[in-house]
């Protein structure tokens, strides 16, 4: 008993280490493993203020459940504002984490469409919704869609309480765009469905 007491007096820290390391290590490993894969999540980013993200999330989740066979573990709508200094890096990083990016007027830069996104495929263009166009190589090309401009009544406008013009873009990295890009596997079309839902007229 004396021996045990003596060793605890000197080596108590080993027990603390043995307690903390597995906890930190396994919690980190398991949180990485639990993170949904790119084709198991649909993330939308809104750059600006005044969007009821929770309501969009709930409505969109319910809509996707009935309209796509893709198995989604996470549907998330995030609102943020980027500062001018880190705008480029943050937006570039966002294209890797989000499937659809909606940018309000005060967060928009001149050539944001051609710098970070691709030309909107025909299937994602709607006759009822205005297109966001930019001139690239003497051609005017559609890079996004105008979701809100104070006039048109889209689903998005129902959850947006601001007054700024808002344009939506498809992330070039998304893997939920079947059959519109080669990165998406068959059936992974949640971004297409979500895009169409956002564009729906009220």
């Amino acid at each position: 008993m004396k021996k045990q007491a003596a060793h605890l007096q000197y080596d108590w820290w080993k027990y603390v280490v043995a307690l903390l390391i597995p906890l930190i290590l396994w919690c980190s490993v398991f949180s990485v493993l639990k993170k949904p894969k790119a084709n198991e999540r649909l993330h939308i980013l809104f750059l600006g203020t005044g969007l009821n993200c929770q309501a969009v999330e709930q409505e969109l989740t319910a809509y996707l459940q009935g309209n796509t066979a893709q198995k989604l573990k996470s549907v998330q709508v995030t609102m943020a504002e980027y500062d001018d200094e880190n705008y480029a890096n943050q937006l570039l990083a966002a294209t890797y984490s989000y499937d659809i990016i909606i940018i309000s007027e005060n967060q928009m830069k001149d050539t944001v469409g051609q710098d970070y996104f691709f030309v909107l495929p025909g299937k994602l263009q709607s006759a009822e919704v205005k297109l966001y166009e930019e001139t690239a190589s003497d051609k005017t090309l559609p890079f996004g869609a105008v979701l809100f401009d104070g006039e048109q009544e889209t689903i998005f406008g129902k959850y947006y309480s601001g007054t700024q013009i808002c344009c939506a873009f498809i992330s070039p990295q998304t893997v939920n765009l079947y059959p519109l890009n080669t990165e998406s596997r068959e059936g992974d079309n949640a971004a297409v469905i979500a895009w169409q839902w956002l564009m729906e007229k009220l």
Binding site: K3, A6, V17, A18, K34
Partner: protein, 138 residues
């Protein structure tokens, strides 16, 4: 007295549970699904806690002292002759070994708990390396 074998035996007692724990950890990772995610996390943490506590105890009480004794036994030894005048009751840590301090004349030596000491006042020859009694010769 052979100090190598007990040291190797103690190391093996640490390696075997560590390997078993690693095997359980890998198995839990392999069997992890979204449904049993939390259970597998709990199993992994608990097995590591048990193994970690065992290793902490076993290395402190057996592996490191035996390693130190083995290292000392390889060094040049001296023989100290005399009777034990006083034996301290409280164990102390000396060179990572839990020892009992004993006084032989003016000299303080440290006896690992495994060593059987003669009674106080009895004359004996002690094999000593680095102030640690490795053997009571006679």
């Amino acid at each position: 007295m052979d100090y190598k074998k007990p040291y190797i035996r103690a190391v093996l007692w640490c390696v075997i549970p560590a390997l078993l724990t690693a095997a359980i950890n890998i198995l839990c990772l392999a069997l992890r699904t979204d449904e049993n995610h939390n259970w597998m996390l709990v199993i992994n943490v608990l097995t590591d806690w048990v193994c970690g506590a065992f290793l902490a105890y076993f290395t402190s009480c057996y592996v490191l002292p035996r390693k130190e004794l083995y290292r000392l036994s390889c060094r040049r030894r001296e023989e100290v002759q005399g009777a034990i005048d006083k034996v301290e009751q409280q164990p102390v840590r000396y060179e990572r070994i839990t020892c009992i301090a004993v006084y032989i004349g003016q000299r303080q030596l440290f006896a690992p708990e495994e060593i059987t000491l003669p009674n106080e006042g009895e004359n004996a020859v002690f094999s000593v390396a680095g102030n640690v009694i490795l053997e009571v010769v006679g």
